[in-house]
């Protein structure tokens, strides 16, 4: 216990909030709005100041929102604010590529016309999502946004949890949700350990402008050192997620903008005409980081705090938003029964719902990356045959499309 005086403030506590959330990124605010809609009083503790979050400049980051995630945003009344900036993903083409040789003839092609629900998802820039969430949070009087605040300690009390902030404030709640990313301090303070490893790969992220229209088609090329994703943004722009070995990424990132584009062109190909940078370049190391438990006394984890996975299938945010929808549903049902929302029985329901799903996804993306991020001729032949076979079977193909659209599994009500 960091504050010895706190031990004497027992046993009855007056709660400021039902739920405190650490992390002001995307999952934290999404959860706060879903919970506020259900009647909870929520505090969002965000280490970044509002100005930083509200910056309208394009920093190159964007997300592939699966259809299920889009439905969640619609359900929490955030979608209208980003709809005009969202690019529907109409087709996905997956190709086994090899630098200098172009894509192999074996490929998978998923077309949204094969399922009835509409586009498989939407590409949305981070800046538009961030601003839409900030506006929604500010408009809801059940949500208190504590921006520029960091947590220094958290202490489980008989009926709740006390969260100490660097400013000296203390927030008391029945439950603390960690939406604070893969280096989650909430998880660490709760004594939750993590499993994981690095991939020796770095993701280079940026947006490019191109001469020709993308027609809403997303491309995934499996290159020897890692996957390259070209994802359609509004207008003649695409988002690039380019995974390379750490050494190669370091070399590429050191290049100036022209040198960077020269390095990108051979992999990118010429099918969209000439390309130019639109915004800055980002990079981050790729790794798997799974929390050994998604819950602890009075604590639950969502998103990367629970499961940071390889971005190979673009499922990081989508998986996090599924956590959000599932946790909101579990807590809302508990509240309507009059149950203690922070006790282990309630939290166990959330973990049972999400843990198998997310761990399966982590293993799948890990395996995918290992299978595809190499130039072994046998594996290359095997994956080409596999992709050819999937492409030839409409039932299986539709299954993949529904999976990519985030419409499979035990879907939370907010995503239906």
């Amino acid at each position: 216990m960091d504050n010895p005086a706190r031990a004497t403030i027992l046993p009855v506590m007056v709660r400021d909030y039902d739920i405190a959330i650490t992390g002001g990124g995307l999952n934290g605010p999404a959860l706060s709005i879903a919970l506020a809609q259900a009647g909870f009083r929520v505090a969002v503790i965000d280490s970044l100041p509002v100005d930083t979050r509200a910056d309208p400049g394009f920093d190159g980051r964007s997300y592939a929102l699966a259809l299920g995630s889009q439905r969640l945003l619609r359900a929490i009344s955030v979608w209208d604010a980003v709809a005009d900036h969202a690019q529907p993903m109409l087709e996905i083409k997956v190709t086994d590529g090899r630098a200098g040789q172009g894509p192999s003839p074996w490929m998978m092609h998923f077309d949204h016309a094969e399922i009835e629900e509409g586009p498989m998802g939407y590409m949305v820039e981070d800046r538009h999502l961030r601003r839409a969430f900030l506006t929604a949070i500010a408009a809801d009087d059940r949500i208190t946004h504590m921006a520029g605040e960091t947590v220094v300690d958290q202490t489980v009390t008989p009926g709740g949890i006390a969260v100490g902030l660097a400013s000296g404030q203390e927030v008391q709640a029945a439950l603390l949700v960690g939406a604070d990313g893969r280096s989650s301090g909430t998880a660490t303070r709760a004594g939750i350990r993590r499993t994981g490893w690095g991939y020796g790969q770095t993701a280079i992220v940026c947006a490019v402008e191109h001469d020709l229209p993308h027609r809403g088609i997303a491309h995934q090329f499996f290159m020897p050192h890692g996957p390259l994703a070209i994802l359609p943004l509004t207008g003649n722009r695409s988002s690039i997620v380019w995974s390379e070995s750490d050494a190669e990424a370091t070399r590429i990132l050191a290049l100036d903008d022209d040198g960077f584009l020269d390095a990108l062109r051979p992999a990118f190909g010429s099918f969209l005409g000439d390309i130019r940078l639109a915004g800055v370049r980002f990079s981050y190391p790729l790794g798997l980081s799974l929390a050994q438990s998604f819950i602890a006394p009075r604590v639950a984890l969502v998103g990367d705090a629970a499961h940071g996975i390889h971005p190979i299938a673009g499922q990081g945010l989508n998986s996090g938003l599924r956590d959000v929808a599932a946790l909101a549903e579990v807590l809302t049902a508990a509240r309507q029964r009059g149950e203690d929302i922070g006790n282990s029985q309630t939290l166990t329901r959330y973990q049972a719902w999400r843990r198998f799903d997310t761990t399966t996804l982590a293993i799948a993306t890990d395996t995918f990356n290992r299978m595809f991020s190499n130039d072994n001729p046998i594996l290359r032949a095997a994956r080409d045959i596999g992709m050819g076979a999937i492409n030839a079977m409409p039932g299986l193909r539709r299954g993949f499309i529904r999976q990519a659209a985030g419409l499979t599994g035990d879907l939370p009500a907010l995503m239906r």
Partner: protein, 249 residues
Amino acid sequence: MTSATQTIDPAEIAKFEAMAAEWWDLEGKFKPLHMLNPCRLDYITTQIAAEFARDLSTDKPFAGLRILDIGCGGGLLCEPMARLGATVVGVDAAPRNIPVAQLHAEHSGLTIDYRVGTAEALADAGEQFDVVLNMEVVEHVADPLGYLTACRQLLKPGGLHICSTLNRNPKSFAMAIVGAEWVMRWLPKGTHDWSKFITPDELFDLMQRAGLDPVDRKGMVFNPLTWSWRLSDRDLSCNYVTASLNPAG
């Protein structure tokens, strides 16, 4: 308590006293009750909301309602009712349960009036409630008709009585006695006396003789795959729960 009003079998009270300390350990002796609780609460909250026109998505939807829980144990039902805004009285014939329940309510920041007592004693004292919760008790009493009559007397006109118990048939013997007590050891051997179990029709008949108007009944079914309980419209073969009203006026 005088012998005239006592319908609880003293041997039954002693058994529960022995089990009292671990009420709130979710993984402890009362784990089966904690597992059943969400299913019971689903029924109770839905019935109360429907009867008294309350919206469960609002803050404190049960504000203004006076609710009695008979055989409150450690407060597994009282606390949710208090959290939903009701004024709650919990009675238990086993004195040892009361301080356990009181302590836990304080830790939860809830105000609940816990008392040692019986339905009959409260009825004699003229207490009145909007809702009487009578969950997993009737199969333990010596005089079910006298007991249900006391429950009806405790209700305001138009008040709601929710009563759950166990059906009496070969399946309930297999599930509740052989399964829960002998094989799974969920409950200590002898917790239940199968011959005291009551069929839904018998219970409806008893309630009508006690002056109550039965309005609904549902099964509570354990699913071993999801390891959880759910309500069923059709399967009342083992655990079941009923709603009845004290006729107005």
